[in-house]
């Protein structure tokens, strides 16, 4: 493989991963606050359809992204209401909504199937785009890709370097203790579930208006489930979650790259291959056996590995909070 090809491959990977980055960061924020929003796969479909439809109707991609964010926030609000206020199983609500939103997207999106629509315009950053290799990979795409860098950075800064992020994590780890210290647990859980849902919705529009433009039946099916898995793989950390999204983007880019070069293997196999490979990677890098392996490593290495690889779930994740 020539250097030129490798650069194109990586640039494709970064672009392909962009919608997933939004979804992964959104879900990470939600889960850090202690709520699992399992509806991601359906939310991405419904918000992606709504975003495409709204952008097409108004000829404005801004309206499209706004509509997608609102749909994502609305679905997340149902999850929050059921989980936080009604104290029902978060898994059940999220799963029902995942299926329901997928079918809603098919039902309501029928008139949009294979219709032309607006797209996010290309926007190479003057100066930076001309830097060899780096410029081609990171600064020659469009606004959504650059926005995703910002979202990753801001999410990390907020979670680990700001007071608000401290409260967010406290609400997910030790809601009772946070409440005793005057943190409004219920309000914050609502806030971050809805905010996370809006980001997941934006991921949908990032597909339909940018990376996988247009709308078809079950246009983005599967990506939401992968995003949920990546959040776990990313140890509920925005930076590592983003790495997971880029890894998946790389697998997708690799599959489409190999498709034209490996004869005899049908296209359809390459379409499912990234999902299968990603699951195998996740299985290999999570789970108890890795923890055991780390414990056998020499002390210096062990400290480094466990700081970076061991990432326990937020202690209050998935549990209802009793305020009284």
């Amino acid at each position: 493989m020539k250097l030129e090809e490798l650069v194109i491959l990586i640039a494709t990977a970064v672009a392909a991963a962009t919608p997933l980055v939004f979804a992964v960061i959104g879900e990470t924020i939600t889960e850090r606050a202690g709520i699992v929003n399992l509806s991601a796969d359906g939310t991405i479909l419904l918000a992606g359809m709504a975003g495409f439809g709204a952008a097409r109707a108004t000829d404005s991609i801004w309206v499209g992204f706004l509509a997608a964010a609102l749909v994502g926030a609305a679905v997340a609000a149902i999850v929050a209401y059921g989980a936080i206020t009604l104290k029902q199983s978060q898994i059940a609500i999220g799963f029902i909504l995942a299926l329901l939103c997928a079918d809603l997207s098919s039902f309501l999106g029928a008139p949009l199937v294979l219709q032309p629509g607006p797209q996010v315009p290309a926007l190479p950053i003057p100066g930076l785009a001309d830097v060899p290799i780096i410029g081609r990979i990171f600064f020659s795409s469009d606004g959504m890709v650059y926005a995703s860098y910002l979202v990753i950075g801001l999410a990390w800064l907020y979670l680990y370097r700001m007071r608000g992020g401290l409260a967010l994590r406290a609400v997910g780890e030790q809601p009772a203790a946070a409440f005793a210290r005057g943190v409004p647990v219920v309000r914050l859980r609502y806030l971050y579930t809805i905010l996370g849902g809006a980001l997941i919705g934006i991921a949908g529009a990032a597909f339909t208006l940018d990376m996988k433009t247009g709308w078809t039946y079950r246009h983005t099916a599967g990506y939401g489930w992968i995003a949920l898995a990546i959040v776990i793989f990313g140890g509920w950390n925005p930076l590592r979650g983003a790495m997971g999204a880029y890894l998946f983007g790389f697998l997708e880019a690799l599959a489409s790259f190999a498709q034209s070069r490996v004869p005899g293997v049908p296209t359809q196999v390459f379409a499912v291959l990234p999902f299968v490979l990603m699951i195998l990677v996740l299985a290999a890098t999570s789970g108890e056996w890795l923890t055991r392996l780390i414990q056998r490593a020499p002390p210096a290495l062990r400290r480094l590995l466990s700081a970076n690889l061991n990432a326990p779930a937020p202690a209050g994740l998935g549990k209802a909070f009793e305020q009284d």
Binding site: I96, L100, L108, I232, V272, E288
Partner: protein, 357 residues
Amino acid sequence: MATPASAKTPSPGAAYRVGAIVVGLIFIAGLVLLTGHSPIDVLVAMVKAAFGTEDQFARVLATLVPLTLCACGLIFTFNAGLYNLGVEGQMIIGGIAATLALRLLQDSAPGPVAMAVAILAGIAGGVVWALLAGALNVFGRISEIFAGLGLNFVAQGLAVYLIFGPWKRPGVASMSGTAPFPETLWLPTIGKTEASPVALIAGLVVLVFTVIVMRNTYFGLRLRAVGLNPRSSTVQGIPATRYLLSAFALSGAMAGLAGGLQVLAIFHRLIPNISSNLGFLSLLIVMLGNFNALFVLPLAFFFSALNVGSLTLPIQFQLESALAGVIQGVLVLAALIGRGLSQQARARARAAAVRKG
């Protein structure tokens, strides 16, 4: 507010349950109105399309079988406290295993023998796939939800690979699946319809088995204990690990059987979408029935009728048949929210009673 209501109704929250369903139905009617059609017309057409002719009713019965089988399996995993989202993959592997058995035996064994082996292979395939998720869950401490979802992708990938690779039909491989099996390898059907008596009997036997095991055996009782609290049941001498893995295996067996029967009785070949989302739909059925085996059959029948009835929507109204899934999803969501609201109302009524007394 809950006190006067509780005087009239047996449970102070019953009104919420009914109210939530009514709101759900209004939402669905609104959606249909939005597309410019009358909800009544659509409803009548769907009922006619599900029950109008023998063929259509037979199709309802044919779809009822995989839904019942998967739902019965999920009764075990849900009662053990597990969300077996891998049921789709278990069904797919069942279909693949049954296809494999038929391919190996079609030239050497008589039809009925080949089909019997294929059914057993389907069951075995489902068990293996479910135990894989179970082992990841029990020994690898990976959430069964994500182990199952991950294995769904792997199963789907395997099916696509086989259909487009080693098992591709002579000529050109396509999404329509492998080459159909000869008619000697089709399960007999009632007349020329899609309903197969063998599949219906299998569904019925599994349903009776499930009801009996859950209601009348120590196994069912202990499984529920493990589901309520795995740690304390271990302390009380119930081997939780063994019960959890048994639940996975039973669920996988039934889903695998469903997948195998889809090959033998419905499609007569392996198709990429062999599970047709029926496994996920079964999860909704069991949730709606509050994990009770007695509700499986009526709810599965209702969901099956919706699925079959919705097939007329594109023809008669140029509407997507996905409306069936929308109705099913809205109803299950409404039931869940109604349950939450009624629990809340009851808790409030209790708190008020405590304050008074």
